[in-house]
């Protein structure tokens, strides 16, 4: 289900994005290697490129302009007002772009046991999923996965990193869903 090409594209795009902006947050918080997030980044030095971040129907646009992630408080899976705003934007975009499905990844920081954090990541991913559904996105287009504490975005061991790691990331993939 994961083609080698899309994996390579993701790695390439992520690498380019990292090199370009030095901001890890801007460069794909997803962990699964599935889908198209970040695709086309870096190929877009000037004007409009289909699939690039200036193309409002692109995954790159979704990631960079809509915002592909929401953050959580310690041990929590409830959505802050800010998170709800981001998810409402995601829902609007998904409703306008029916050619995408989304895998929502739930993550936890390292301050917890491995298996509990898997369950906690599952809660977070589902909180985001439920909100998207409440905003009219078809459940058949959404799937969740938890990575627990296995795929931190930031690697320091302070709250500055932990707050970025407690996240649910909406990773797009082409397809109409079921």
């Amino acid at each position: 289900m994961i083609s080698k090409i899309s994996k390579t594209a993701l790695i390439l795009a992520t690498t380019l994005a990292l090199g370009a902006c030095g901001d890890r947050l801007g460069a794909g918080g997803g962990a699964g290697g599935q889908g198209f997030d970040g695709a086309g980044v870096g190929a877009n030095a000037g004007g409009f490129t289909p699939g690039g971040p200036n193309d409002p129907a692109s995954a790159a646009y979704f990631q960079q302009n809509i915002g592909d992630r929401v953050l959580f408080a310690v041990d929590q899976s409830n959505l802050s007002a800010e998170a709800q705003t981001v998810l409402a934007g995601q829902a609007q975009w998904l409703n306008a772009n029916p050619g995408y499905t989304a895998l929502i990844e739930g993550h936890a920081d390292e301050q917890g046991t491995r298996e509990y954090n898997l369950a906690l990541g599952g809660r977070r991913a589902n909180a985001a999923r439920d909100y998207l559904i409440s905003q009219g996105v078809s459940a058949g287009r959404l799937r969740t996965i938890s990575y627990g504490k296995e795929r931190p975005l930031q690697i320091c061991s302070t709250e500055a990193c932990y707050s970025q790691n407690r996240r649910a990331v909406t990773v797009l993939a082409a397809g109409a869903g079921v």
Partner: protein, 481 residues
Amino acid sequence: MKHAHVSAARGRTVEKPRHFGDTEAISAKETKRSRVKTFFKGLCAALMLALPLSVPATAQDAAPGPLRITITDGVIEPLTVAVPPFVARNPAAQDLAEDISRVIAADLSNTGLFREIPRDAHISRVSSFDAPIEYSDWKAINAQALITGSVLVEPDGRIVVQFRLFDVFSEQPLGDGLQFVGTADGWRRMAHKVADAAYSRITGEGPYFDSRVVFVSETGPKDARQKRLAVMDYDGANVQYLTSSDSIVLAPRFSPDGTKIIYTGYESGFPRVTVIDVGTLEKQTVGGVDQNMSFAPRFSPDSGRVVYSAEVAGNTDLYVLDLASGTTNRLTTAPSIETAPSFSPDGSRIVFESDRSGQPQLYVMPASGGDGSRISYGEGRYGTPVWSPKGDYIAFTKQNAGRFHIGVMRTDGSEERLLTGAFLDEGPTWAPNGRVVMFTRETAGAQGAPALYSVDITGRNLQRAATPAAASDPSWGPLLQ
């Protein structure tokens, strides 16, 4: 995996003809297993036969002497032991005799319960296994225990290890001499068997050196860690990798008979309960139909059932799968997270972790399910409970005031005792004798990495286990047979 076959004969003397008859029977089994052995040389290496040896004529019957360590008291002063080089009964046995005696000494010393008297202090040289013991020479260097042995390499390559344990100050053997017969590539196992016998006789506890540990070997940066299942001897020798690093693997557990390992694997892209056969390396996902994510699996003591967590629509509960019938039953129905289950050794109860009270705590329920009753009431968060194979304690992870601890408590939650404290300790697993726990200790920061540590249930003798790379999630397998 097929573990080594052992039969213990009850004769008072070693009878060679009978001994070789047994060996031939074992050889046939070995041939059938040759494919498995190719895969897993270190794991199923030794085929052993243990026979009591006759005690030298001068010795008294093995009355339990004063040579005794009681582990639960917390040993302050280790017992001194001398392990002179084993006698090589033929030239081919020279290196093995040396290596085997060194592994025995290391096993005992690493428990923290024994202190080896260095060889350069020895007065006596043991040149014949059956020669009388010069007790005065061993008393003079204050060796309380003495282990002597011999090694013979048979023409067919098989090795024969004999040993005796002596209580020096009582001037008598402690138990019968024993003889182990096995294949040369299983020599470490034979050394562990000798050390196990000595340890058990002196401590009164069950053996555990001849055992293996499954763990997750970790490489790569913290935000892109690659994980592989690996097994090793309890002391870090003979590491074998079971999976590639293509997909995440988490929290493996040995089956009680040691032939299978169950874990959470992402091979399908999603977390799934997966079983791998240690001998053939064949993998199979089990359970989890209609469940978004299945994880945290453990075998029942009879290996017939698997208890695990599954997440459905964000809610994680416990389920049990009967492997023969394929039937799945839901054990908990709370809206909270229920995970990290562990069967009691008799299979009648399950201890698990739930955050139904607002934060993770430990609960015990019947193996058939139910609400369970809370057993952890101290400050902080409790997780990953693991029932001791002896049934007397539950080990757990505790998170409190910014630190993690490994602890043990009675099965009703009383007598809580923290054994460790660090930035991140988690996931205890019990040695087969229920007197040592191994766990993961992860260091902080961007360069932080996990390693395996062990500690006695008294909180003494914290030791880092040697692994080739960073390592996490150990699960101690059964005592090998």
